[in-house]
């Protein structure tokens, strides 16, 4: 028995493989749920109800999907060019902090649309700036960006802690460590009245479209893909590797920074050091589940958000620990890697 490379992979096969991977992961997790003494069908039904069962549930789930979508795009863009950005978590926080600061300091007389647009730019700029450092070190001194981006996460979170205990502390938060909030005038408007779902959802969807356009249709995107697959051949063909890698870094960091900025301007108002339950890291999983495709990122972020939001509801109803959500997502990542293998190779005897 051996594996043979498929000559071409239809998108239906890719999507089917992803679906099969998710179903397999759920089947494995069913064993654990059974071990916890609960009928898996009941548990999964509760999960679905918790994430999709009501208007409120759906909007909560989509609210959770927004940052995942953006960090997922950040990872997908970078990984395609073989730039291993593991620092989306840090970029998320720095984007959030920058937006909180700018949103608090901007003149509140500014029209809100202009203010919001400015905040989004600030968030992106902060994330982009943060990743440009490791990218520069890689280009100049060949420093492994996996290490630098990963470690920067811890530095940034400590920096956020410093800022919200110190200069950016919210005096109205009664000693609670939280940053000054974004001015009411510059908060992202609600998409559905009476829920937390905000206009950031539309921004995230638009970003998925823009990223797809950049990757698939532009000179920059084509050169970045070429550089990712075979840097030497790309360079030989006249692609400037430093420019391409730096461009990819700015885009990837910007998307992760935007995720943080949108979360602050759309949901939390101010920054806390616990505002992200690992959105940056989960973005890596989302990107892998999506096989690095922007459209897939949208679907994968909705899936991951469904599992996380649904698991809380399931836990309340059945008593199965909500940690099962982490298990399901992790299993899905593993099954997805296997599915990717089978969608790009076929088995021959």
């Amino acid at each position: 028995m051996r594996l043979e490379r498929r000559t071409s992979v239809k998108w239906t096969l890719g999507a089917g493989a992803a679906l099969a991977a998710v179903m397999t992961a759920l089947a494995f997790a069913a064993g654990l749920i059974l071990a916890a003494g609960v009928n898996p069908l009941v548990a999964y039904l509760e999960m679905l109800r918790g994430a999709l069962g009501s208007r409120l549930a759906i909007t909560e789930m989509l609210t959770r999907a927004v940052p995942l979508m953006l960090t997922g795009l950040a990872a997908a863009v970078a990984f395609r060019a073989r730039l291993w950005n593991i620092g989306a978590e840090g970029q998320f926080y720095l984007g959030a902090l920058a937006v909180a600061w700018a949103g608090h300091s901007l003149m509140s007389s500014l029209p809100s649309a202009i203010g919001i647009a400015a905040l989004m730019v600030v968030g992106m700029a902060a994330g982009a700036l943060l990743l440009s450092g490791p990218a520069y070190l890689r280009l100049r001194f060949n420093v492994d960006e996996v290490v630098t981006t990963l470690l920067m996460n811890f530095v940034v979170i400590l920096f956020v802690g410093l800022m919200i205990e110190g200069p950016m502390r919210d005096p109205l938060a009664f000693g609670w460590p939280q940053s000054v909030p974004v001015d009411r005038n510059f908060r992202l408007p609600d998409l559905v009245q009476g829920t937390r779902l905000h206009a950031g959802f539309l921004i995230a969807l638009a970003m998925a479209g823009i990223v797809w356009l950049i990757i698939a249709r532009t000179v920059f995107g084509t050169e970045a893909r070429a550089a990712g697959f075979n840097a030497r051949a790309a360079e030989f063909a006249g692609v400037s590797l430093p420019r391409t890698i730096m461009g990819v870094a700015l885009l990837s960091g910007g998307l992760a920074g935007l995720a943080g900025g949108i979360e602050v301007a759309g949901v939390t108002g101010g920054v806390t050091t616990t505002m992200s339950p690992g959105f940056g890291y989960a973005g890596i999983v989302v990107a892998m589940l999506a096989a690095l495709h922007p459209a897939g990122v949208v679907a994968a972020s909705v899936f991951v958000a469904t599992v996380f939001v649904g698991a809380d509801a399931m836990s309340r109803a059945t008593g199965v620990p909500s940690f099962i959500a982490d298990v399901i997502v992790a299993l899905a990542l593993l099954t997805m890697l296997v599915a990717l293998l089978f969608s790009s190779y076929r088995i021959r005897r």
């Binding site: 071409s8 249709r217 000179v219 697959f229 051949a233 063909a237």
Partner: protein, 506 residues
């Protein structure tokens, strides 16, 4: 003589492609059988079936009268079949001895019996005249030495039938000659050998018998002594092939000029004081034994490496070190030495590869967006004009055969009507038909007035195409000699670094 190996009506299909069609082949005791065929004729597939890497759809493999179970390389090894692959399967970071013993010992033995292994290896090395240092690291070995290790690996496992897949593809001519002497002496020690090749001269020089494969079928079997290269070429290709010949014509003005160029790679001088001139409508051949600076010269002339000293000028304008994009824009077409590493991005489709060099130009993009239709149309024209078989614009380039990939690269270069063409080993690894096609294209570019630098390790190729020749030895260039005054013997001397006394002949 008795038959030691028989392939009995082997058939293998990959999808719609029939790679082997009822191929029957016998190997006699103590003979060297050459398996000759173009790229894609099914030679490697057949040998992989024999060794158990692939399972045949029909047919059987018999070794010493016994039928092998299909799909079990281990069974093949046990009965004494050893295979030396074209791409070596050695661990760079281990020693020669480790590589050879790897997998030959039971997994659960407490201590590796290195002493015995070493003694046995040295005995084999002595017996077959294959000198190696058991403790040397593989990463430090030359290609020829690595091949020796691969052969010893097979012998260490008591191989009595040795299969070599394109053993000379990676070797320089003298190394190849030495390899064939070794193989000949091995048959004297009771081994039987099959080697795969598409090079006529080595089949003629080294084999007892030739089996010719074409399009998956065995089309002929000949005793080497009773055939001719012409007959074999015709059998292999299916119709008579002749390489095109250069016709004399007037050459024009100097186009690309190097004056005392020195290039450092990894802080070591890779090229020193290069001086050459190539004119419009002229082919300048750079010949040399592999590893004498050809790679650095290719890098310099494709814009990847910068001169540290001296001048590289295109029509009087300094261009050294401006980078690949500037070279392409200035009308320098480049055919890289290594198609897979530098020529194409295997994962990307044919159409993206065929326009990658000129993606940023108006022809193929507008405001930063790729003009996909223009690019695809252009690609279809290339496929048609350069007869790139089996290619469609959407197909991944990595799926093309070596020859067709080379035609694509050649097409990409020639379609831009370049004033200068840098062709670095343009026919390496190609079969006769593809070589003739590449030569014809280069000659027609020459006729159209292009200045061409041909860097080649194939003497016949350099001699038949070039107007003038220079030898590269240790990163230095000889004075040029004109094609009229060149012959293989003289070039051989030049490639060995003996050129001073004839510099006034140039």
């Amino acid at each position: 003589m008795s038959t030691v190996l028989r392939l009995d009506r082997i058939t293998k299909r990959f999808g719609r492609l029939v790679a082997n069609d009822e191929v029957t082949l016998d190997l006699e005791d103590g003979e060297i059988l050459a398996l000759l065929g173009e790229n894609g004729a099914g030679k490697t597939t057949l040998m992989n079936i024999l060794f158990g890497h692939y399972t045949a759809d029909a047919g059987a493999v018999q070794v010493f009268g016994k039928t092998l179970p299909p799909g079990r390389p281990r069974a093949a090894i046990r009965v004494g079949v050893g295979m030396v692959h074209q791409h070596f399967a050695l661990a760079d970071n281990l020693s020669v001895l480790d590589n050879i013993m790897l997998g030959s010992e039971p997994l659960l033995r407490m201590r590796s019996r290195r002493q015995e292994g070493s003694a046995r290896l040295l005995a084999l090395s002595e017996k077959f005249g294959l000198p190696v240092d058991p403790d040397a690291r593989v990463s430090g070995l030359s290609v020829g030495e690595r091949q020796r290790v691969e052969i010893l690996k097979a012998l260490y496992r008591d191989a009595r039938i040795l299969i070599l897949d394109e053993p000379t593809a990676v070797l320089a001519r003298p190394e190849a000659r030495q390899l064939f002497e070794t193989l000949r002496s091995m048959t004297g020690q009771g081994l039987s050998i099959i080697f795969i090749s598409h090079k006529l001269y080595e089949v003629m020089a080294a084999s007892d018998r030739v089996a010719v494969l074409r399009e998956g079928r065995k089309v002929a079997e000949r005793t080497t002594a009773r055939t001719t290269p012409d007959e074999l070429a015709e059998l292999m290709v299916g119709n008579p092939v002749t390489r095109p010949r250069r016709e004399d014509h007037e050459i024009g003005a100097p186009l690309l000029v190097a004056e005392d160029v020195t290039v450092y790679l990894d802080r070591k001088p890779a090229l020193q004081d290069l001086t050459f001139t190539v004119h419009e409508g002229e082919i300048l051949g750079i010949v040399g034994v592999s590893g004498n600076g050809q790679a650095a010269l290719g890098a310099l002339l494709s814009g990847v490496a910068s001169p540290h000293d001296g001048k590289l000028m295109l029509q009087g304008r300094e261009i050294g070190g401006l980078g690949p994009r500037a070279f392409i824009a200035a009308g320098i077409g480049r055919i890289p030495e290594d198609r897979h590493a530098e020529g194409v991005v295997g994962e990307l489709p044919v159409w993206e590869n065929s326009v990658l060099e000129r993606l940023a130009t108006k022809a193929f993009s507008n405001l930063g967006f790729v003009r996909r239709r223009a690019a695809r149309d252009h690609t279809r024209v290339l496929i048609e004009r350069f007869d790139i078989r089996g290619a469609s614009p959407e197909m991944r380039v990595g799926l093309l055969s070596g020859g067709n990939m080379q035609k694509l690269i050649l097409g990409r270069v020639l379609a831009a009507a370049p004033g200068v063409i840098i062709a670095n080993q343009p026919t390496r690894g190609l079969d006769e038909g593809a070589i003739a096609a590449v030569h014809a294209e280069l000659l027609s570019a020459r006729k159209a007035g292009a200045a061409i630098i041909l860097i080649s390790e194939e003497l016949e190729e350099a001699l038949s195409l070039s107007d003038r020749l220079q030898a590269i030895v240790g990163g230095r260039l000889s004075r040029p000699v004109s094609a009229k005054d060149a012959n293989p013997r003289r070039l051989g001397l030049m490639m060995a670094g003996v050129w001073d006394e004839m510099s006034n002949a140039a």
